[in-house]
């Protein structure tokens, strides 16, 4: 996408300003988004994202800029503005570029640059819509969305790195709204992956519609949620968002290096119940959070974060490695050329255990079963987090009693890790978008159903 001689000229210029390290991140992405409403196509949108990110490193200082223009003079102008306060004699010389293409671990076939497959996607969304509406006449509205992206990147750096990669993402979602004339409630289901529209051979629009409608109907009949400290059983798949938010962000060197993570000095220590082992794996074939190489050009890895309760690794990007001394883990990620890379999660999950679901429920006198979790947020410095329960049930005397609505779980990462006492066998992954300092990146969360012995539940009852 960028001429090698031009990249060489610009990076050489960055080094001539006295930088220790210079990098160009070139991106051209195609996007296509289809949305449906009321069983009709509401919109089809498409776009071209194009830009070049410029990173200069002077000691521990990172300078970053970007532009939509490709002229060498514009790239040098940005470098000049960035380095204006740090100019010094050259420290290092440009290493000759040694091009290498990554091994393709995530093949995609029906990609956006070949065909947007609009008719096929519309048919999928309409089938999901029809399934949801067929579930009950209480389903009053549906929204469908199918988004596909083809991201092509090219990275050059002053250490001689020159590499390229292509990532193909697709995700289809249906939201159902149930209404009884007085109250409204929602349910949602989505599927996605790091592949092309061939995903339609793997997913079932009827299941998508049925599941979105089922959740909406459960929530429509839900009672107010009890509140207070109590045990909670958290469902598999997207339930893993609790580990992602409560612990995963605290293991990124982005916060570890600043000592803004409660785990920054806990390497090798027991930070979780011994029932907990957790992984961040960027290598899983065609998974939503996978990559071939990270956004700094390093081949990605499978990283064991916690083993039997003991902290075994952080998630480390190039800058984090320099600041903390830990080895890079291929975790340098960014949403686009508009962001400097930072250590970020990929497919992050608690490994399956051997507990039975019925044993978890029957062990609880009064608590909540959070079958589906929504989003949440965490404050890395203190580890305080919150999560929304989007499908929940009240447990009493060892039995699931009735659905509850509008509940939030709050605790801190260190506390909840030690409260996870049982982990089940029904492991699964779910996809989401994770927002942080380097933008929103695709990540998978996952776990088997697990039991937290005590957590604060915020409800209305």
């Amino acid at each position: 996408m960028l001429q090698v001689t031009k990249a060489e000229d610009v990076i050489d210029h960055g080094l001539s300003l006295g930088a220790d390290f210079a990098e160009l991140f070139v991106e051209r992405s195609l996007t296509n988004a289809i949305s449906t409403l009321s069983s009709q196509v509401q919109s089809v949108e498409s776009g071209i994202d194009f830009g070049i990110g410029v990173r200069l490193v002077f000691g521990s200082k990172v300078l970053y800029g970007y532009t939509n223009k490709t002229e060498a003079e514009e790239l040098k102008r940005i470098m000049g503005e960035l380095a204006a306060m740090d100019l010094r004699d050259p420290r290092v010389s440009l290493q000759a570029f040694d091009y290498s293409a990554p091994v393709e671990h995530h093949p995609a076939h029906r990609i956006l640059s070949a065909d947007a497959d609009v008719d096929s996607k519309v048919a999928y969304l309409m089938a999901a819509d029809a399934a949801a509406r067929a579930s009950s006449n209480l389903i009053s509205q549906t929204r469908g969305a199918c988004r596909q992206k083809e991201q092509r990147i090219e990275i050059f750096n002053s250490e001689g790195l020159h590499t390229t990669d292509a990532r193909n993402y697709v995700r289809a979602t249906l939201t159902a709204i149930a209404s009884d004339g007085q109250d409204q409630a929602t349910g949602m289901w989505s599927d996605g992956g790091l592949l092309g529209w061939e995903i339609k051979e793997q997913v079932d629009p009827k299941k998508t519609g049925d599941e979105a409608a089922r959740q909406a109907l459960v929530n429509l009949g839900a009672k107010a949620c009890p509140s207070g400290r109590m045990p909670v059983v958290i469902g598999n798949g997207f339930g893993g968002v609790i580990f992602h938010e409560a612990c995963g962000h605290l293991l990124e060197t982005t916060s570890v290096a600043k000592k803004a993570s409660v785990f920054h000095d806990k390497m090798g220590e027991m930070i979780a119940n011994e029932a907990v082992s957790a992984v961040d794996d960027g290598t899983m074939a065609n998974e939503w959070g996978s990559i071939n190489i990270d956004d700094e050009g390093m081949q990605t890895q499978n990283t064991q974060l916690i083993k039997d309760g003991r902290l075994t690794s952080f998630l480390v990007d190039r800058l984090g490695a320099e600041q903390t001394g830990f080895e890079r883990t291929g975790s340098g990620r960014r949403e686009s050329y508009k962001y400097a890379p930072a250590s970020r999660m990929r497919n992050t999950f608690i490994e399956a255990g051997d507990a039975e679901f019925d044993d978890m429920i029957s062990s609880i006198d009064r608590g909540i079963y959070a079958a589906q979790m929504g989003g949440g947020s965490v404050q890395p410095g203190t580890g305080e987090f919150n999560f929304a329960v989007t499908e929940g049930y009240y447990i009493e005397n060892g039995k699931i009693q009735y659905p509850v609505k509008a509940a939030t779980l709050i605790s801190t990462g260190p506390a909840v890790l030690k409260e996870i006492s049982m982990v089940g066998k029904d492991f699964s992954l779910a996809c989401g978008m994770c927002g942080s300092v380097s933008g929103a990146v695709p990540t998978s969360v996952g776990q088997a159903t697990l039991k937290v012995d005590e957590i604060l539940v915020g409800g209305q009852a």
């Binding site: 919109s43 200082k61 609009v118 409630a185 508009k338 305080e384 987090f385 915020g458 409800g459």
Partner: protein, 442 residues
């Protein structure tokens, strides 16, 4: 080729295809600085440009955008938007406005030339971090920064619209992480201004420190029903989360619970809510909306009764009404509606009445989007703040949740304070409101 010439070429191609269209061109430049341990941690210089096109042909709407500005990409922009339109359902209500207005904001007022140098801005970033880090018990200042951004939006249409707005915003922010024994806390604050000299680092540092120090020893309080006052930062956020209640677009889509309640009492009679886009003191100032309709003041709730929804030309046509100047469309998005800057009328309660007896002041809410359902009004948020009695803080409060239904909460307004406050981002101006009987879990 100039931006104007590129716009003309794009719209000529739209006309040649027998379609109508409007084009948004956003351009921006920004400087972002962050400090860590006495040195700059981030120094970011950016320039950006994006073209966003909407076309309407045979009553079908298509959109496309491009960040690439070469001739080939801009031709593809038009062709892609036309292709996308061919798939869309017929939408008889969405039109390109027959609007040939020439509109332009005043650069001297909204985007003043600033003489501050990059070196001065770097010095400010370093000063903020150093002064806050030097305060007692501050472990570090993990989030801080100084930003200077100028954004320019142009809107052109095949019917002759030429609208341009440009605005500058300088802001700084800082969050302190304080540790004492086994307690820790992180809080902060920001400031926004049009000119560098209007930023006040001493006040920022003092406020960020005080916010964090005061909450450090916070603890949960017993579960129960409490009277609650959301502070001037949190109250606008809460209204923002549930702003869909004013949306004509959501009403058209059948998901706005206020759709059929125009004229009905939906809130306590003390509440009057307005959108005031022409208030130049705020950063939500707008001369025109993204369709080019001149912006205007609008009363949304008048003494507790829903008096208007917000409309663009499409939703107005659907409801046989007129646009209220609240059309939103970014280069990458389709036509929607949005508020400019929300204001709530001051009430009559003085401080003594507002702060009588026991009540909870909420200074922070977490999970604002994940914990709220704008369709049903249900919410459950993590919260922190202060338990107060007769205007005096009794104890700092952390580790609690507040839960309820926002639309029911609007009917439980006990008192409205007599003084309005801007939030720090200057996007909303509201008085203190005391809500009765909110569920708190501790």
């Amino acid at each position: 080729m100039s931006i104007v010439s590129q716009a003309e070429q794009i719209l000529d191609r739209v006309r040649a295809a027998g379609a109508e269209g409007d084009l948004i061109i956003d351009q921006g430049e920004a400087l972002s600085l962050k400090a860590k341990d006495g040195a700059l941690e981030e120094h970011k210089v950016t320039s950006s440009q994006v073209f966003g096109l909407r076309v309407i042909k045979d009553n079908r709407v298509g959109t496309a955008y491009s960040e690439a500005a070469d001739g080939e990409s801009l031709v593809a922009l038009v062709d892609q938007a036309l292709l996308n339109a061919s798939y869309a359902a017929v939408e008889a209500h969405e039109k390109i406005l027959a609007n040939a207005l020439k509109l332009e904001t005043q650069d001297a007022q909204l985007s003043p030339i600033d003489q501050a140098t990059v070196a001065e801005k770097i010095e400010l970033a370093l000063t903020i971090e150093a002064r806050l880090a030097a305060k007692p018990m501050v472990k570090n200042v993990p989030y801080n920064g100084v930003q200077d951004s100028v954004g320019e939006r142009r809107v052109y249409s095949t019917t002759g619209l030429e609208a341009r707005s440009k605005a500058r915003m300088m802001h700084c922010y800082a969050y302190a992480l304080i540790e004492s024994g086994d307690k820790n806390a992180m809080e902060g604050i920001g400031q926004a201004a049009r000119r560098f000299v209007e930023l006040d680092p001493d006040r920022l540092v003092d406020q960020a420190y005080q916010n964090t120090f005061d909450i450090l020893q916070g603890a949960a309080i017993p579960s129960g029903k409490y009277d609650v006052i959301f502070d001037e930062e949190i109250l606008p956020s809460l209204f923002n989360v549930f702003s869909m209640m004013f949306s004509g677009k959501s009403a058209k889509d059948g998901v706005n619970p206020m759709r059929d309640k125009l004229g009905e009492e939906i809130a306590g009679s003390k509440l009057t809510v307005r959108d005031l886009p022409l208030d130049t003191d705020g950063f939500g100032y707008a001369l025109f909306d993204d369709e080019g309709t001149p912006a205007q003041a609008l009363c949304l709730i008048k003494e507790g009764a829903l008096s208007s929804l917000i409309h663009n030309s499409m939703t107005a046509s659907y409801f046989n009404s007129v646009s209220t100047g609240h059309g939103t469309r970014g280069p990458r998005s389709t036509l929607g509606v949005g508020l400019h800057q929300l204001e709530i009328d001051a009430g009559t309660a003085d401080d003594a009445a507002l702060h009588a007896g026991a009540y909870l002041v909420v200074t922070d809410l977490t999970g604002l989007h994940s914990g709220a359902n704008p369709i049903s009004g249900e919410f459950s948020f993590g919260a922190s703040g202060y338990l107060c009695r007769d205007g005096v803080r009794v104890q700092p409060v952390r580790g609690i949740t507040v839960a309820g239904n926002f639309y029911e909460l609007l009917k439980r307004i006990a008192l409205i304070g007599s003084e309005q406050h801007w939030n720090w981002a200057r996007s909303a101006k509201m008085p203190s409101i005391r809500f009765a009987d909110l569920s708190v879990s501790g």
